[in-house]
Symmetry: C2
Subunit: 262 residues, 2 copies
């Protein structure tokens, strides 16, 4: 059975905004042999809800263990259902660690991936010795010698359009490692130090390698200015370790220019 798609006569196209706890998922992308993924969970739900095969197309992948507050995807269906029914249908059929939080009808040719103009990611650090009872699996506990002002100064040197090859996974297959990083900010709320990145797009594990390297600088194990110097080498081996996935949150996918959501 062929999945319903943009070419299917009479197909409607829906934009889904999706929150998930990445802990029990092998990432976003559907995997073979029964590994649980967010896309797979949503596609299984959609098949039941719509009564036909369907592909849920995300704005991009997230790694195993990474969370999302507002991942965006689109899905086509020939079934006529009000958006409220679609939202409740997905949430009734999916595990509680994935929730469709918004459903909007969009033009038939709209794609969550190609229309995305940028993304915001957040990475949460907890610089103290004891772990957190409430935030385990949601934050990276790091050594308490982290200098937040130093971390902020270092991240402020990063935003620009550049080749980010030093900050991507060695198996990253993207043909275009030139991306624009619009912002790299640090915010402290109580004991949590949040790093936020706004970019035109991100390479595989780019945020996690940026964070792993920034923590080295923040702890005084690398000099101020190291991150730009490393970027210019375009060599992954120069950068710091890859931060673990469980501190990372896809916060927002940006569409349109003037406040339009698509």
């Amino acid at each position: 059975m062929t999945a319903v798609g943009p070419e299917t006569p009479g197909a409607r196209n829906y934009k889904l905004t999706i929150e998930y706890d990445g802990a029990d998922f092998h990432g976003w992308q559907r995997q073979p042999r029964g590994l649980r993924t967010v896309q797979g969970e949503l596609e299984d739900a959609a098949r039941t809800l719509f009564g036909h095969d369907v592909v849920v197309r995300g704005s991009g992948r997230t790694d195993a263990g990474v969370h999302a507050l507002a991942q965006v995807a689109n899905v086509h269906t020939t079934r006529e259902l009000p958006t409220g029914r679609i939202l409740r249908g997905f949430n009734g059929l999916c595990g509680r660690d994935v929730r469709v939080v918004k459903v909007e009808e969009v033009p038939a040719d709209w794609e969550a991936r190609s229309r995305a103009r940028g993304k915001w990611y957040r990475y949460d650090l907890l610089p103290r010795i004891p772990h957190s009872a409430l935030l385990r699996g949601r934050v990276w506990r790091v050594a308490p010698d982290l200098d937040v002002a130093r971390l902020r100064d270092e991240l402020a040197t990063l935003p620009t359009t550049a080749h980010w090859g030093a900050y991507r996974a060695s198996d990253c297959s993207s043909p275009d490692p030139v991306k624009t990083l619009h912002a790299a900010e640090v915010e402290r709320a109580g004991e949590i130090v949040s790093l936020r990145f706004h970019g035109s797009g991100f390479l595989k594990q780019m945020v996690r390698i940026l964070v792993g390297t920034a923590v080295e600088v923040g702890r005084g194990r690398m000099e101020l200015g190291s991150m730009v110097r490393i970027r210019d080498t375009q060599n992954r081996a120069q950068a710091g370790p890859t931060a673990p996935p469980h501190g990372l949150f896809l916060e927002r996918v940006l569409y349109g220019g003037d406040g339009r959501v698509y």
Copy 2:
């Protein structure tokens, strides 16, 4: 075997600051017949760590399902150990949903309960239809018709010294229902609406009944001014429902006056 206490010759007294996820605990207080409680978990760990029986005395109880960012307790021991060893010892012996985040030596007669001058509680609401994938068990999902400005206005009428008998569990055994509520504030962060209460002390389920009633007012199901009117009846039956425990966090226990922690 008698537990080591303040009368035991040579006993040292330690103040513990404790974070816990209340989901898998039958509340703070030790229960008979193997029900898992925070106090029980800490006392079992202390017995192993110190090599003698011990009572971990909290600043007060929390209900089953209620969380704490910084519950405070004190514990006596005749075992001589550096505070860092005590902290690591508790955290190595307790489940990951309870973490001792600070250990400080205090005078032998210091008590977490009688020395407490006040507490801050926070209650988190999520006013929307879909639940949250990431905050399930950490927030009370309520109807989206919650009017936050109205909620704020209503809570602002509450702070004073009064008889709070209308806002306590029917089986509350406290001999003194007169407490001072110093603050009742509302803060919005993204979609989460946080209610914060600072009081000299709180009756059993007082915060949860205040929240359950405030939500009725915020949703327009009770008139503005209802909460003070209900308080003056001193009648539990007049107040709203008891909000569920999982949105409630003990944020801070206050000691001393001028910034001292004990």
